[in-house]
Symmetry: C2
Subunit: 455 residues, 2 copies
């Protein structure tokens, strides 16, 4: 029987374990989980903070019992401290503080990421007890909730307007706090075009969020009356709660110390079978670099859906499979209050940097026939290569009822198969007046793009 | 200047005219429209009957002014009576009863379809004045509304449980009528698997519709007190309004008389450039056969979205283009009350008939993370080829909030590019807890299919 040891109990690690057991029910799978929350949906945390998910236990993709039933042996509160690839062992600290050694035939590293700490004066001296938070784990979540309840927080400052920052802006607003979002660059959602980021920011403002882009945070420190002062290049903000969500960096110290080769941005370097340079050692998820289908190279692109796929590949190969990670397109969708923004592939700036000759065309098309009640416009930006006509990317913005998340999937699917923009027009997509148009909005955008090309 | 003459003012004809003008602004485009309703959305008729669209004018995809502005010269109430391909002319009757001759350099035939009349005794003797209706034109619509208001119809019998029958069952129920649906075969939506048709029928029953499958209608005739009697093999039904919606047949008499070669089921035979065998004559829409991407052959598959695409190809080629119709997959989506059912490609029975070795697997997966409010199950049936693993089709059923229409599009897109079922698992689809899962429901179904294959 193969002993498969997995470090990490989040998306990548659990997926690896489940897939290994699925393919080889005889494999002995043990997971070292640093905290007490295996297989929790980190992406769901904002919805517990908002109150949409009252019981935090429900954020688990699967319960501990589900996982044990699937044949995964969980070692909770076991933090791996050293990998010994020459001996095929991992040392971990147990809950009682003692040290335990686990042997393995195959090892999957799924240590994930840790919050990046921006260079803001005071951040190193303040923590949850002061009302200053990051957000990456269930313990981070509980700390934020304690600040809200015990400190009776009424005013929050969020540093960072990426998707977590915006989802938390909604969550804290829903929770009754007054929220200010500070973002260094001059738009929210920096991974999307400013043309679509701006109406999203406007929607946040309509819902009472004070969104300040182009604002660099200089310092965080105590203010009077137990409050916090956030200093920026354009003025100071008072807060009871400060949340710093400016991205993550891969958690690779354990792997690097053991001799794992590192790739882009300090990630663990793996091939498309999730193999590290160490014998019998695989890695997956937010701690590794990710193959991008369009760029045909590895970049750092940590996303939950990607971690699941990489974990699945690692798990298959750890039990003798020959799986290959097909690659990511950076597809994402974010709901903020009543709007959804989504994107896949490259946009003008990223495509040009990658050597393409991109053209981006924006159109507005209704989600379904205008005569049927509830029709709502979708703004779509399609990016294609001028020379080859190849579809490179798409971004969508509109009301949450507009089925935007699944419309971006049509583009993502087409890109995966090397489609041209014109191919989108030929697709036989579904049509019924309450849910679409004879030419779906995704096709209307492709038509506009090809017309621009022909002009 | 090329003179492009188009017979028909519905989806195919209008699309042909618009595309021709788009590619060649010098082309002179004239459309002969048999009635006074050019470019109306036939698919939208149920929503005017229901009251969702109070003003029938809104059912027009474009107004007459829009069309004229786009350079289309409309000849309303002009019914073409003869095509003379040797003289490049078409004879039509004008509203005043007189005959007019139109010359052309290129001709597009878009005569569409007419309701099929099933062999029911009495149908040939009864019509709208008696409360017996078909539904294909705006005039048919107005006639139904007159029966409802002037005859104060309270009870309707719908013969045929295809998508129009079911949409009209919803419409008439919403309008306040008591509705019975009679269907000859033993399920509603005969184009889908009975496993998904059955819960749809159950939903109709919950909403008060008396759905009777496996029921053959024998006769329609007058009953007492101005009512109608519908005789079936299992008993009689009384009605104030009878609607017969048992499919359509291509309207090809005009083309056939002119010497156009006919294809499957009496359709006008065209190549994938929409060329008929007659010089300078193209045809598109519900009057022609349709190339099916998976079957690699032409079948009769009349759908509005397909008519738009075929019209676009015909219009392009009529002005010297080299467009090719990529093909249909029979993709469709239907909303009935609060449920949506959708399908694309082949299912077990149609795939086997076409020489594939199909395997169909059904799973139920939530539309988004269960912890986020409003999650609802989607039943998905995926069909793939046992030997090649190729994705052949998918069918989905669930609540109207479940973004089913756009999820079927992911499958339709993948099939268009020759995907295997396993390829679906590799797609980088969007994920955010309120709108999806790390493995989207469409991927959960593909996973189940591949597991079945491996077993």
């Amino acid at each position: 029987m193969t002993r498969l040891l997995i470090i990490g109990g989040s998306d990548a690690g659990i997926s690896a374990g489940l897939r290994a057991r699925e393919l080889d029910p005889t494999v002995d799978v043990t997971l070292l989980v640093a905290d007490r929350y295996p297989n929790f949906s980190i992406c769901g945390i904002p919805y517990h903070v908002s109150g949409d998910v009252p019981d935090w236990h429900h954020l688990a993709h699967r319960t501990t019992t589900d996982l044990e039933t699937a044949g995964l042996h969980l070692r909770l509160e076991h933090r791996a401290t050293a990998i010994h690839p020459d001996m095929n062992t991992v040392t971990a600290t147990a809950p009682d503080g003692g040290s335990t050694v686990f042997g393995y035939d195959r090892l999957v590293i799924g240590t994930g990421a840790v919050p990046a700490t921006p260079p803001i004066d005071g951040l190193d001296r303040l923590g949850p007890a002061d009302g200053v938070h990051v957000l990456h784990t269930m313990d981070d979540t509980f700390a934020i909730l304690r600040t809200i309840t015990e400190r009776r927080a009424r005013q929050a400052v969020i540093v960072g307007a990426g998707y977590i920052g915006l989802e938390m802006a909604e969550a804290l607003t829903t929770r009754g706090l007054t929220v200010t979002v500070l973002e260094q660059v001059d738009q929210v959602m920096p991974t999307l075009d400013p043309e679509l980021a701006e109406p999203l920011a406007e929607h946040l403002r309509e819902r009472g969020v004070d969104v300040r882009t182009g604002t660099k945070v200089r310092s965080v420190g105590p203010a009077t009356a137990g409050r916090l002062a956030v200093g920026t290049d354009t003025g100071d903000h008072r807060a009871d709660l400060v949340l710093v969500v400016t991205g993550v960096r891969p958690d690779t110290e354990l792997a690097a110390t053991a001799g794992a080769a590192l790739g882009v941005q300090g990630t663990i370097a793996v091939d498309r079978g999730m193999r590290t340079n160490l014998p019998d050692v695989y890695a997956a998820g937010d701690c590794i670099h990710t193959y991008h289908r369009l760029l045909d190279q590895h970049i750092y692109l940590p996303l939950g859906s990607t971690a699941h796929k990489q974990g699945r590949v690692a798990g298959a190969n750890a039990v003798g499979g020959a799986a290959t990670f097909a690659g990511s397109l950076g597809t994402q969708a974010v709901k903020v209050f009543d709007r959804v923004v989504a994107g896949t592939g490259l946009r003008d700036t990223t495509a040009r940097a990658a050597g393409f000759d991109p053209v981006t065309v924006e159109v507005t098309a209704d989600d379904h026939k205008a005569y049927y009640p509830g029709a709502t416009p979708i703004r779509i930006r399609v990016t294609g290569d001028r020379t080859t006509g190849r579809l490179l990317g798409a971004q969508l913005f509109g009301h949450r009822s507009a089925e935007i998340a699944k419309r971006v999937d049509t583009y993502a699917t087409a890109i995966a198969f090397g489609a041209t923009v014109a191919d989108i027009i030929d697709l036989d997509l579904s049509y019924t007046p309450p849910l679409g148009s004879p030419w779906d909005a995704v096709q209307a955008a492709a038509m506009a793009w090809t017309l621009r090309q022909a002009a």
